[in-house]
Symmetry: C2
Subunit: 336 residues, 2 copies
DNA sequence: CTGTTAGCGCGTTCAT
DNA sequence: ATGAACGCGCTAACAG
């Protein structure tokens, strides 16, 4: 019962191996009658075609590799889920790789995925630490199908789908300014990476529009993007006096900040307003529901995977990038 | 540059294909000198062995399938991350499948994974809806290597690793009773599934120990295990009068409940205490840090994957189950 | 419409 | 220690 091959099927159905193969693959060149015969044999023998032999002869693995920074931040988990669904709906499998937010690990993970014969790569970029992208450059040169999702690397400015982060940050900041908040602080991990740069830009844009100055102490850099980063950041921020409002680079950091503020006796939003970015599925069910900027994950996954399959079909495909619109989600944490 | 095969390597190294193969696989039968020669050729040609040919001839895919209910609840994301790491550390790849909390979808997802040639299955069981497990029975009969993680199906009582949920629930309930809480309500989605049964049992155990009665209205069943379920559940609970404390079946539900209680004007824990289960990485950074029962995910993943690889090596391996101890994590949400 | 056959790239015997 | 040859299971091109 371990090794029933197409030969057995062919024998039982009384046809040749080739015919059996075409029948199984529903080729139009085979008559309905023999197809039925073959189907029955398949049923009876509980036959399942050998994917390796298949891949060997077609050179398609029907497999995509997916690189995720980590699963502590639910953002990546949710995104991974949508990516899996999209890939699955195209009859492909999704091989997971973890980069642990490190370029070196990303390189190794990609290497392993390639060793498994993935036809393309969905890469959620690492967002902290120094960037050594030689592994990606080699792939890019070879036009290996890959798409960057939710962010991209400046050194490899191609084939990505993400939200217009600057605009989101702009909308959010603008809203806060309109509400009368004035000393707003923006908080993140590594300011060299794309996501933070774009958000900072939106932040400046809004302030400029209001003809207001920004002092350097309003830009806070913590050592990471997780809630610990939020803890650090809020301590740093408070040293320069109490801000009106805090914008965190993501929802998890925002939660860390709210938690810390509450522990220190501040009320949110009465004393200090806090906003996040992402709109995780848990962000709306916080004790103080979180104002944030929604990233349309499902759409992002859909567009990213579509793009990847285009590249797989035609590697020379013109390189594009898709930029989705963010949505302001206003909840209690910034109410005035 | 697409199709450099072992032939090219052998040619460049000036050896036969067979020798090249052994050299690449570091066989002791090949001399250091020729190995070096081959290594250099591999380097120069940027050779990468064809996984399909390899799998075809060895009949190992070096791939494991993993079934996850969904990625809305961060519990599953975190678990998936640890599983990936464990599988990866053994040189295997992790193919993801989503069951969307439905048995029918689980069956299809498993079928697809098998079509990809996975050598084993890590299954995080579906926890709602009716259970039709014929697909799993067939696999079980064939001794196909599979391990259930974080829960199991009663109809297939084998090869699972989970935490002693009853004990966790018992410890938690006991603690609440010791604190003086008396009308405690326990809340979940589908009470027919293993996790809820075990937790209920722990709940009863604690009450029994205190010689207290439990009224049916203390056991609340919502339509699902997510935060919406929490919303429903708390409405139902309040209809029978205000409870002292609420135990949710997982942290996400607990968050939903706290959020709802706050919106209704209740204070947590002053008016109603709330506890969860799981100890997600975000549970400690809630505005009111959440009391909960920690499930040791990393250990669970480690044990589960170890067990799976034992089964892969020897399908007739005696069936076991590993039960890990939960840990009570007391935070603000149940303080008195 | 169907049967025959030649690879796909690698691992693994046998010989040498 | 190394080379030659075969087979893994399947697809596709070619015949008929």
């Amino acid at each position: 019962m371990e090794k029933t091959t197409i030969k057995d099927v062919a024998a039982l159905a009384g046809v040749s191996v080739g015919t059996a193969s075409m029948a199984i693959n529903d080729s139009p060149r085979i008559s309905e009658d023999t197809k039925k015969l073959v189907r029955e044999a398949v049923q009876k023998l509980d036959y399942r075609r050998n994917p390796f032999a298949r891949s060997l002869s077609t050179s398609f693995s029907r497999t995509i590799g997916c690189l995720i920074p980590d699963f502590q931040n639910p953002f990546f988990g949710e995104l991974a889920g949508y990516l899996q669904e999209e890939v699955d709906s195209r009859g492909y499998g999704l091989l997971l790789g973890l980069t642990n937010r490190s370029c070196a690990i990303e390189a190794k993970a990609i290497d392993k995925l390639l060793d498994h014969g993935v036809e393309g790569l969905l890469i959620v970029p690492v967002d902290v630490g120094p960037l050594n992208l030689s592994h990606l450059h080699k792939l890019a040169q070879n036009h290996f199908p890959m798409v960057f999702v939710s962010s991209f690397y400046k050194q490899i400015p191609m084939n990505y789908v993400m939200t217009q982060l600057q605009e989101g940050s702009y909308m959010l900041t603008r809203h806060l300014l309109e509400q009368g908040y004035r000393s707003i602080v923006i908080v993140s991990g590594d300011p060299d990476q794309v996501p933070f740069e774009q958000r900072i830009a939106g932040f400046y844009q809004a302030y400029r529009e209001f003809n207001l100055e920004i002092s350097p102490s309003q830009i806070i850099r913590a050592s990471g993007n997780s809630f610990q980063g939020g803890y650090e950041a809020i301590e740093m921020a408070l040293r320069h006096g109490k801000p009106d409002a805090v914008e965190a680079i993501n929802d998890v950091m925002a939660m860390g900040i709210i938690s810390r503020l509450k522990a220190k006796g501040y009320k949110v939003p009465e004393d200090i307003a806090v906003a996040g970015y992402d709109d995780l599925s848990i962000s709306g069910i916080q004790e103080t529901p979180l104002s944030t900027v929604k990233q349309p994950l499902q759409e992002m996954a859909h567009e990213g995977v579509s793009m990847l399959f285009q590249l797989i079909r035609n590697r020379e495909e013109i390189q594009k990038s898709i930029i989705l619109s963010p949505n302001l989600v206003l909840r209690k944490s910034t109410e005035r």
